[in-house]
């Protein structure tokens, strides 16, 4: 199979890159072993949340952060590119109604009741913003095992906000209709799309609500008809309603995946799920084709002019640490930067301590091309985006989706520029 660009990996960075490339007019194929992390985490666009203290304005913090972290992907792309990428992205998924900006982080409640800094959130999460305090009520569903409103609320009441504002919060456990005791978030999302179910929920909830309370639900408020579901709940309950993300899978994340898949399809991009990338055909410092293990007993090649690695990091096995302690990038055998010596401390004894191995990943040049130890690009036409990049700990920095979008956008822009 041949195309202009092959993007490897169907997480947020891969989808972003592929969509931008396809929209830019290149014949784009996105190849992935399976579905990516969009299904697991909420689609909040975290750009920078901690450094290591709470970051109030990502836009202001980014330049200094990049300067202080020379190996961080943010040190490879400008703050303007980050902003441009995220702006572009928001426009591509209007259905999610993203709100917020890079100027100021919101603070949204998590399912344990911690306040999480994030720059941009889907509209249905925005009313959960805690920065100016207020009264909140969190609603548990009868058969949903991944949401504990009383615990969440009690922690939130103790939140220390820089504004000095206070949070008043409480939990309510609903006895919503249904017999099954163990109902998944997917099933609840479908239930919420049924008017009868919504009616049952609102009539049970309404008498229990107090003045000025904003209402937080687990993030299961519909899938395809989410916006209508959310708006109707606000209308009937006559107050702001918001979603609180919890354990995977993430219904809001799935909404984002579906929106991106649809956009990619409309833009003429192709999505091939299933094959495992096993190597590449190369010549003169360029990759000519990606080799994948097909379903049949033969390798299949995807020839292209450019390749984007959006394969993920240790979490997907794109970067593998084996039982002997060796680290390798599994598709192209690219050099992995930031790997501590096998005898050195790699993982610390304390869970929250610094784990030097956590930041291992691909090092890239300013075009986002993976480089060797001397800083030279390993291949002239290979770009790397998202979690495969080293130097970051997105789950601690709260920079995950921001990095994915910004690097995916930046690499695609580089390629489009080269193509024109």
């Amino acid at each position: 199979m041949s195309a202009d660009v092959v993007v490897l990996g169907a997480g947020l960075s891969g989808l972003t890159a592929a969509l931008r490339l396809a929209e830019g007019g290149l014949r784009t194929v996105l190849v992935a072993q399976g579905v990516g992390a969009t299904h697991l985490a909420p689609p909040t666009i975290d750009v920078l949340g901690y450094d290591p203290e709470l970051v109030e304005s990502p836009a202001q913090a980014l330049p200094a952060f990049a300067a202080a972290h020379a190996d961080h992907p943010y040190a490879r792309i400008s703050a303007e590119t980050v902003a441009a990428g995220i702006g572009w992205f928001r426009d591509k998924v209007p259905g999610l109604g993203y709100v917020g900006s890079l100027d100021e982080n919101l603070l949204v409640p998590t399912a344990v009741g911690a306040a999480k800094p994030t720059a941009i959130v889907p509209e249905a999460m925005a009313a959960g913003d805690l920065r100016s305090g207020g009264r909140f009520v969190f609603v548990g569903l009868r058969a949903f095992k991944s949401f504990y409103p009383a615990y969440l609320a009690e922690n939130l009441c103790r939140a220390k906000l820089s504004s000095g504002a206070t949070v008043e919060a409480r939990g309510i456990q609903l006895n919503d209709p249904g017999q099954e005791p163990d109902v998944t978030c997917m099933e609840y999302a479908r239930q919420f799309e049924r008017p009868e179910f919504r009616k049952a929920v609102t009539s049970e909830l309404l008498p229990q609500l107090q003045a000025e309370e904003k209402v937080g639900f687990p993030s299961v408020l519909g899938l395809d008809d989410h916006r209508a579901v959310w708006q109707e709940l606000q209308d009937v309950l006559q107050r702001p309603v918001f979603e609180v993300p919890s354990l995977p899978p993430s219904v809001p994340g799935i909404r984002l995946f579906r929106a991106l898949r649809k956009a990619l399809r409309s833009a003429g991009g192709r999505l091939v799920l299933g094959p495992v990338a096993v190597g590449a055909e190369t010549s003169n410092g360029t990759v000519d084709a990606l080799v994948v293990q097909a379903s049949a007993n033969r390798p299949t090649t995807y020839a292209a002019k450019w390749f984007v690695l959006a394969t993920g990091g240790f979490a997907t096995g794109a970067i593998d640490l084996d039982s002997f302690g060796e680290v390798r990038e599994t598709v192209l055998g690219l050099p992995v930067a930031g790997v501590p010596d096998v005898e050195a401390l790699r993982f610390s004894p304390g869970y929250f301590e610094d784990h030097p191995m956590a930041r291992a990943g691909l090092a890239v040049d300013e075009h986002l091309r993976p480089v060797d130890a001397d800083g030279n690009p390993a291949f002239g036409n290979v770009y790397a985006v998202g979690a495969v990049l080293g130097g970051a700990e997105p789950w601690r920095e709260h920079s995950g989706n921001g990095l994915a979008i910004a690097t995916g956008f930046a690499a695609a822009s580089e390629i489009l520029e080269g193509a024109s």
Binding site: A41, L54, A159, K160, D182, D320, F324
Partner: protein, 529 residues
């Protein structure tokens, strides 16, 4: 200070202590057991779970082999629910001296350990992952046993016979008057309250810690803590216990234990049972040893590593390799040995001989007290073992199938349902999720609590009406406890899992920034392994 009065005080809540408290209670003694922590948190909860046939010792330590097979037969009668009847093989692998096999057969005959040579092809058919280079194979009645279930069963049996079991009660000092031990002063480690326990007789069953306890009564007992590490693999690479047919050495046993396969072990003398760590070399040694028994072992997923310290006792030992110390147990009568009356120490031995050790101990106690009360532990089955049905691996899935539409599944890896979890939380009021883990195997599967820690914390908060601050501590402590075990063998698939778990707890839930102080403390301290 609160005072308690009892006839027999047992110190140590491991297998030895639980064996003794059951035996004592069944002989009609008023009995109290104390442990500084929860039950089975020491060596007992940290072994590979092998029900020895005795095969391992037939050449090297025939006395231990005889004890093993004797107790193996009794345990199968009284503790079937604790045992999975996997059977065991002794295998001559390519690195083993082929001549050992004949000595092994001879040893089995001499010690009455049943042993039957099996065609290698048949073994490979049954266990296709084993090394095809195996040249001889012998079947023995090894099995897999669940140390926690055994301990809970003994505790329930003891309590049913009137015993009191006080966990989190640490001995501060022994009460010694007129050359006799009269009891001990203990502190409730949760409330801080001190309790004086007056007893007619004290049994020191504190395993690797026996020297420290004996010293409080002025007796010198030298126990060699022998560290052994084990690696749990994510699924059962074998369904039968496999042993190398050779002199005991490192990493020569794989035990299919519940959903995992455990490879063990090492044996290294350590100075202090509380101060030691797992080294990279030890883990590498286990993985390479696994590769010899099961080719591809290193590509399989390692779940967790842990270590335990065997209490090895011998009056005189100067070897650094504690494997040369006998596995037989030692009963020290401190009246004859040290001139301290009403006090014995029972130490050494193996999990499998817990009942026998208790019987001998209580025979000695009866002798010292001048009473005649026969031992009944070999005949009366433990709770849940009355029907003499062996534990079956599929039991939890079957239970789940029966309650599919009645209950929630909280820990999905280990099939822990919500009602079971709530019942356990109510039965043993604790805010320590690790204590719940040992009862239910909560968080012990592949994701190591990735999904259930949050759920269990929410349920705990709801059920125990604890503050969110205490609940946060439970959550963070459990995260740390799980991390402790995965860290030494963190590679391949388990690293993928840890990374996902980090995304969940730090990225999505942001537990690193829970309110107030408790988020700061846990997980940052250097926790002793």
């Amino acid at each position: 200070m609160t005072k308690l009065q009892t006839e027999v005080l047992v110190i140590g809540g491991g297998s030895t202590g639980l064996g003794v408290v059951r035996d004592a209670a069944m002989r009609g003694f008023a009995t109290v057991l104390v442990d500084r922590s929860d039950l089975a948190t020491g060596t007992t909860g940290r072994f590979h779970g092998l029900l020895h046939s005795g095969g391992r010792y037939v050449v090297k330590d025939p006395k231990a082999a005889e004890e093993c097979i004797h107790e193996n037969r009794i345990l199968r009668k009284i503790a079937a629910d604790v045992i999975e009847d996997t059977g065991g093989y002794f295998l001559t692998t390519p690195i083993d001296d082929p001549e050992f096999a004949d000595k092994f057969v001879e040893g089995c005959r001499a010690t009455d350990v049943p042993c039957e040579e099996v065609p290698v092809a048949e073994v490979l058919r049954k266990e296709p992952r084993l090394n095809p280079g195996i040249t001889r194979a012998f079947a023995v009645p090894d099995g897999s046993l669940d140390s926690w279930k055994m301990v809970w069963a003994c505790a329930r049996s003891a309590e049913a016979n009137g015993a009191r079991i006080l966990t989190y009660h640490e001995v501060l000092r022994m009460i010694v008057e007129g050359g006799a031990v009269k009891g001990a002063v203990v502190r409730d480690n949760r409330s801080g309250e001190e309790v004086q326990i007056d007893a007619d007789f004290v049994v020191n069953a504190s395993g690797a810690w026996a020297g420290k306890l004996a010293e409080m009564a002025g007796c010198e007992v030298t126990v060699f803590p022998g560290k052994g590490i084990m690696v749990a693999m994510n699924h059962r690479l074998v369904n039968t216990v496999v042993n190398r047919c050779s002199m005991p050495s490192d990493g020569d046993i794989i035990v299919p234990a519940r959903g995992v396969a455990v490879i063990g072990t090492t044996d290294v003398k350590v100075a202090d049972p509380d101060e030691w760590e797992i080294t990279r070399e030890e883990v590498q040694k286990m993985l390479s040893a696994g590769e010899n028994l099961v080719p591809g072992f290193r590509q399989a997923r390692a779940l967790r590593v842990w270590g335990g310290v065997r209490p090895l006792y011998q009056e005189k030992v100067d070897s650094a390799d504690t494997r040369d110390v006998t596995r037989a147990h030692a009963l020290l009568n401190h009246r004859t040995r040290d001139g301290v009356e009403r006090f014995v120490t029972i130490t050494g031995g193996k999990f499998c001989t817990l009942r026998l050790m208790a019987e001998e101990t209580m025979d000695a106690v009866c002798g010292e007290l001048g009473v005649q009360r026969p031992c009944r532990t070999a005949d009366e089955p433990l709770p849940d073992s009355e029907e003499k049905r062996y534990y079956w691996l599929g039991a939890r899935v079957q239970q789940r199938e029966e309650t599919l539409h009645q209950d929630q599944l909280i820990c999905e890896c280990e099939f822990v349902p919500r009602r079971g979890l709530e019942a356990a939380m109510l039965r043993r009021p604790t805010t320590n999720l690790d204590d719940i883990r040992r009862v239910l195997r909560l968080g012990m599967g592949p994701c190591q609590g990735g999904f259930c820690i949050y759920r269990a914390t929410g349920i705990l908060h709801q059920l125990q009406t604890i503050s969110s601050s205490v609940a946060n501590r439970s959550l963070l402590d459990f995260l740390q406890e799980r991390w402790k075990g995965v860290r030494p063998a963190l590679y391949g698939d388990q690293l993928r899992q840890v990374r996902l778990d980090e995304w969940i707890y730090q990225g999505v839930l942001n537990v690193g920034h829970l309110p107030a102080d408790e988020a700061q403390g846990s997980g940052r301290e250097e926790v002793k392994t």
